[in-house]
Symmetry: C2
DNA sequence: GTGAAAGCGCTAACAT
DNA sequence: ATGTTAGCGCTTTCAC
């Protein structure tokens, strides 16, 4: 049989409360008593039953993380960083994949989080958008990630999409490129608050600031942001005959696909076309040529998100703080694809 | 206040038992009663408290998955597949990262699994080896993954390392290569049971079967299996002047690094050197050139592992089945790096 | 077909 | 500094 606190108490010759005190590092326990309890725990191989503790305390020590899929590099790296951050707070992370499925995202947002033994939820939507923000229930500790929904009732950690995209474009302009293509714009016409639209805005801003006209022929809509689609968009652009000497891909995966298509077409990078991506996934350092990118501050995002969630979990019921919007710092990482040597 | 079963029972005008029956789909409930209970649940926004259920039933509905790190592509894809497989059994997955740290792997194996509200643990070691198999406690539902430990006291899901590596090497031989290099062998001399050694064995087996002598100069030790190390090993090999026309990299990440080094050195793939990797990560399809690889049956591994774990969880205490060793089916995936057209 | 009541293992008043 | 005790919300005999 699995030993309980009672068994430990009996073996140690103390009461169950003392065992609890020892386990929870309560200050007022005599060293000798503590030792006896600890050796009883050792002897019996006792492990606290976390379900019972959770029932009693109302805390499970586990938070949920809902992402589209881990096989998408960005989310694997995000999950990695979040699990590390949660660990510092002694929290476990239950990972749920929504597979970019609207219904599953709704399920994750509306209580399935509470349904899964978790104290709070970090949610990175891929389908839900601005119109769905009413679905978010501010009652359960919840932190929103990404840039599909703004102005929701909960804390939100995101990145400086517009200004970092502008900086990426300026980086290309800075090395003398004038005909800068963009792939990854959203197919829908109506302007929504979404990574794609925000980044396109930054791109246009940079061009305008430099007095370069925006050429609609250079802007290619691509969805979803997969390698094959990046490659295809690039093949289309090359085939169109529209001249260009720079490329801003709205994420690294698209950029990597584009790199592949450029290579196939015999276009030299960065000589003929300089390329910059977005996200700075690990892989960017090792492609041929290595890929310049925007580091959106993934680590900072992870740490901030976990910290905010922990604060919400610890928040007294009486005094709910207003929802916070946090944007992480970004950084342009110049590599070979924009002419910077080495493969750092 | 959060509603409980009692509240639902009161609103529905039934007893708490009836509510429980409805929630757990017990057969003997009158349809009209069921309806009343369901609408009471709806009205109150009731959600069962899983801590309480877990305490009572001894099950949490969550399993643990301990892997080195999700930022390693292979493990992200493994975790992805496992979460999907677990979902079919209505299980959540708590992901723990051991960061390739021995102490943390030991912690994961020895009860930390039980400490984390989980019903069982899937464990993929990176540091623990054959000598540590006594640490594995057969009492807690546990399934071992990978090939670092064999003959342990628990179920184990692994791949056909030797025969699939042999098949990979035969694939290179089949397209006429005779001087086949290998990168990724383990630096240690003493033969251990480990992916590297098993795959090297398959490589040698294929060469011997084809009557090709094994040239130690062509076998390069590399650890850990990162891109940069693959690239470095390849640069070394090229610099050594030892001629070769084929390369078997013991995983795709190494192969991708090697591809990069070959490209830098102006060596054409597959014309001068044909390359095959191992793991068939998503990225292999999109490198330049696309990378031939061995698909070790990741999906099958994930599904089998979860099924075995579920069986162990459901096992009556009385009749423990002997530990099972399962090997998944593999498949050679031929792409451009070994001369097969297209980028499938 | 439904109700009453015990108890899973733990924490936190409260008492000593 | 340590012991006693009452639940946390649920499942599960056992009656009815």
């Amino acid at each position: 049989m699995i030993p309980t606190m009672h068994d430990v108490a009996r073996v140690a010759g103390v009461s169950i409360k003392t065992v609890s005190n020892v386990i929870n590092d309560f200050p007022h326990v005599r060293p000798s008593t503590r030792m006896r309890v600890l050796s009883a725990i050792e002897e019996l191989g006792y492990r606290p039953n976390l379900s019972a503790r959770g029932l009693r305390s109302g805390r499970t020590g586990v938070i949920g993380l809902a992402v589209p899929e881990l096989r998408q590099n960005y989310f694997a790296e995000l999950a990695d960083a979040i699990i590390r951050a949660a660990e510092k707070h002694d929290l476990g992370v239950l990972v749920e994949q929504t597979s970019g499925d609207r219904e599953r995202e709704i399920a994750a947002v509306t209580g399935a989080g509470r349904l899964r033994l978790t104290d709070g939820l970090l949610f990175s939507p891929q389908r839900l958008g601005q119109d769905d923000r009413h679905l978010i229930q501010p009652r359960f500790p919840f932190v929103l990630l990404g840039e599909r929904i703004f102005g929701g009732p909960t804390d939100h950690v995101t990145m400086h999409n517009v200004s970092s995209a502008q900086a990426a474009t300026e980086h290309l302009i800075g090395i003398g490129r004038r005909r800068i293509a963009l792939i990854g714009a959203h197919p829908d016409r109506r302007e929504e608050i979404r990574s794609a639209d925000l980044r396109v805005r930054g791109y246009k801003g940079a061009l305008e600031a430099a007095g370069i006209p925006v050429d609609p022929q250079l802007i290619r809509a691509v969805a979803p942001w997969h390698r094959e689609n990046g490659a295809e968009a690039m093949r289309d652009l090359i085939a169109s005959g529209v001249p260009f000497d720079g490329l801003f891909a709205l994420n690294d995966t698209l950029a990597l696909g584009a790199l592949r298509a450029l290579g196939d077409a015999g276009v030299r990078v960065p000589d003929d076309v300089a390329v910059i991506g977005f996200d700075d996934i690990d892989e960017a350092r090792f492609s041929v040529p290595s890929l310049s990118s925007v580091d959106p501050g993934r680590q900072e995002i992870a740490e901030t998100a976990v910290e905010l969630l922990v604060e919400r979990i610890n928040e007294k019921d009486g005094e709910p703080l207003p929802p916070l919007l946090v944007k992480s710092k970004f950084r342009i990482v110049a590599r070979e694809s924009t002419g910077s040597g080495g493969s750092s």
